[in-house]
């Protein structure tokens, strides 16, 4: 029975270095090491082009190559016969390989040496198992397919976004044994991703943001492709940027993650967000984990989309429930800066952007009109909030606001009172101060 490329993907990761032989047109062979072989699809692999070296010169003139890869667990050796097809210098494959190379380079102390110039795509002509003794493979610790089946059912059963996000993180923790995970959603208006839920961190990081193209998460989002790193990397391009400004919340992150995987959450080709997981262990996530999480993210995206559609249909305007009696105690000062929608509560930063504008609208209605109950629909129709027409993520922003309030401002709570409806519960009097756009902050 012939061996398929899918079956030996773990051997391609370069945990144990691979070697390649090529041949010049004059018949002179060449042999050298390669950092890793990237799986493209069941019939193609890609090799990193880092220097214009002999291997590269050879394959441009004589496309045949032979490679040996080693299974990192069983130490089985596989020989691949390849044929060079083309070089890609941008796009998902290139970005995926660039990130992986940065991590391998850092792991082998060669950050200055390794730089990806292109992804050389090869057709796999044959795969041969090199005879020899192999170590027994340890019993698998979990079945990814069983975990995925169970998780998909549990996600599909969720009827609101908050429960869906929590269920996703619970499934990752209990079924996939991934205790550190973050869900970020895409704000198509600003081109940024914001953290809406996380698990396994001291600070939840809810409300933190990252731009498309920044770090492992941003690259996965921009290229709509999984980015998987097997080792700790010190390449700043792939690290979470340090957040210094007072209106920036730090992204949740392990101090020194050794394995990281970011997969895009897509519905069709529309980017909804990124699912990001990490581990303090080297080589924690394999190609199979990448596949499983990509499918899980797809299920998350589909359910997220369905939940939003169903919420749209509900939440009729309310008669206008008003507060019964004013809150007691010292007033809390809520400051709003219209320039970026940022909110400060007693001088402590709470949130900014659309979620900040929503909060300002709610507390104004609460203070001036004594309103306590609201619908998602009225917010969606409020032009002053500047919600994008499509994919406005309103539910996500409300979750974000609710969680930031719980963490930073516990005397104001958003309480769900039905589908598409919520109550603003306030335990202290509020004093509102607005700084209009254009005024000095």
């Amino acid at each position: 029975m012939s061996i398929t490329l899918d079956a030996i993907r773990d051997s391609l990761d370069g945990v144990i270095p691979s070697v390649i032989a090529t041949c010049a047109p004059d018949g002179t062979p060449n042999v050298t090491y390669i950092s890793h072989v990237d799986y493209v699809d069941p019939r193609h692999v890609a090799l990193s082009f880092q220097f214009f070296n002999k291997t590269r010169a050879n394959v441009l003139e004589n496309p045949r190559a032979a490679v040996i890869v080693v299974d990192p667990v069983t130490l089985a050796l596989y020989r691949l016969a390849l044929e060079y097809l083309r070089t890609e210098t941008s796009g998902p494959l290139f970005e995926r390989m660039k990130a992986r190379l940065a991590s391998i380079a850092a792991h082998s102390g060669m950050s200055d040496v390794f730089r990806l110039l292109g992804s050389d795509v090869y057709r796999v002509l044959a795969i041969e198992r090199v005879p020899g003794a192999v170590a027994p493979a340890p019993a698998p610790r979990r079945s990814l397919l069983a975990a995925l089946r169970s998780a998909a059912q549990r996600l599909a059963a969720c009827s609101d976004l908050a429960a869906l996000l929590d269920e996703t993180l619970t499934c990752l923790e209990t079924l996939f044994d991934i205790p550190h995970a973050v869900v970020l959603l895409h704000d198509a208006g600003t081109g940024r991703l914001f953290t809406v839920a996380s698990r396994g961190y001291r600070e939840s990081g809810v409300g933190s943001e990252i731009a498309l193209g920044d770090g492992v998460i941003g690259v996965a989002a921009r290229e709509r492709t999984p980015i998987r790193l097997n080792y700790e990397t010190n390449d700043v391009v792939y690290s979470h940027a340090v957040r210094a400004s007072e209106t920036e919340i730090a992204l949740p992150a392990l101090e020194a993650p050794r394995s990281r995987l970011a997969v895009p959450i897509l519905v069709g080709t529309t980017l909804l967000g990124v699912l990001y997981v990490e581990s303090p262990q080297d080589v924690r996530f394999t190609y199979d984990d990448e596949d499983a999480l990509l499918v899980l993210a797809e299920q998350l995206g589909r359910t997220m989309f369905a939940v939003q559609q169903s919420v749209e249909q509900q939440g009729e305007p309310l008669a206008g429930e008003t507060r019964k009696s004013p809150a007691r105690g010292a007033p809390a000062v809520i400051r709003y800066y219209a320039v970026n929608g940022s909110i400060f509560v007693d001088d402590d930063y709470l949130i900014k952007g659309v979620a900040g504008a929503i909060f300002w609208r709610l507390v104004r209605d609460y203070v001036h009109a004594q309103r306590t109950e609201f619908t998602n629909r009225e917010l969606r129709l409020d032009a002053s909030l500047r919600l994008p027409e499509l994919g406005d993520n309103l539910e996500a922003r409300l979750i974000l606001l609710e969680r930031r309030l719980a963490e930073r401002c516990p005397f104001v709570r958003i309480e769900k009172i039905g589908r598409g409806r919520f109550r603003l519960a306030v335990e202290r009097p509020l004093s509102l101060v607005e700084t209009p756009a254009g005024a000095a902050a």
Binding site: V19, A21, P29, V31, T32, Y33
Partner: protein, 165 residues
């Protein structure tokens, strides 16, 4: 088609010394249609005069390569020190499969001890050295050639630079 060795100049003592370390050996050849073949070597030996190098292979795991050597005599062999990434590539055009000599087994045993130490230092998976060089004594094959070209293969700016022989 085998071609006579062009030079036959002795290897630099520094390179002979490097080859005597526990270096990982990888060997490539090509067939008459210029299709490359590759195999992990399981040892190396440099002639006392430094003019010829022998690489050892497990015949059962290197059949295509041995056939290619017999067919064309073309060879490239890489020698890499795992702890330092220092590496050297030698090429020749007169490679031939030669009989294993009685003391080759002893030379290999000493090499395997060095390789083991080397692999322990880089914390490679236990058994990797064995997986790469595992062979039954009867399965041992030897390929001898005269290096006619040598190249630095240590990753970095100088990688690929030719070394004068």
């Amino acid at each position: 088609m085998k071609q006579p060795a062009a030079g036959g100049t002795a290897l630099d003592p520094m390179h002979v010394e490097f080859l005597a370390l526990g270096v990982v050996v990888t060997v490539a050849s090509r067939d008459a249609r210029n299709v490359p073949t590759i195999a992990h070597g399981i040892g190396r030996r440099v002639a006392p005069d430094g003019r010829q190098v022998t690489v050892f292979l497990a015949a059962s795991r290197s059949q295509a390569l041995l056939d290619a050597v017999r067919e064309t005599g073309a060879i490239a062999a890489s020698f890499c020190e795992a702890t330092t990434h220092r590496a050297l590539q030698l090429k020749g055009t007169d490679a031939a499969v030669v009989p294993v000599e009685p003391d080759d087994h002893e030379c290999l045993a000493a090499y395997l001890r060095l390789l083991d130490v080397e692999f322990q230092r880089v914390k490679d998976p236990e058994g990797l050295a064995k997986a790469l060089v595992d062979h039954a004594p009867a399965d041992l094959a030897a390929v001898r050639f005269t290096p006619t070209a040598a190249f630095v293969q240590t990753p970095g700016a100088g990688a690929g630079a030719p070394i004068k022989l």
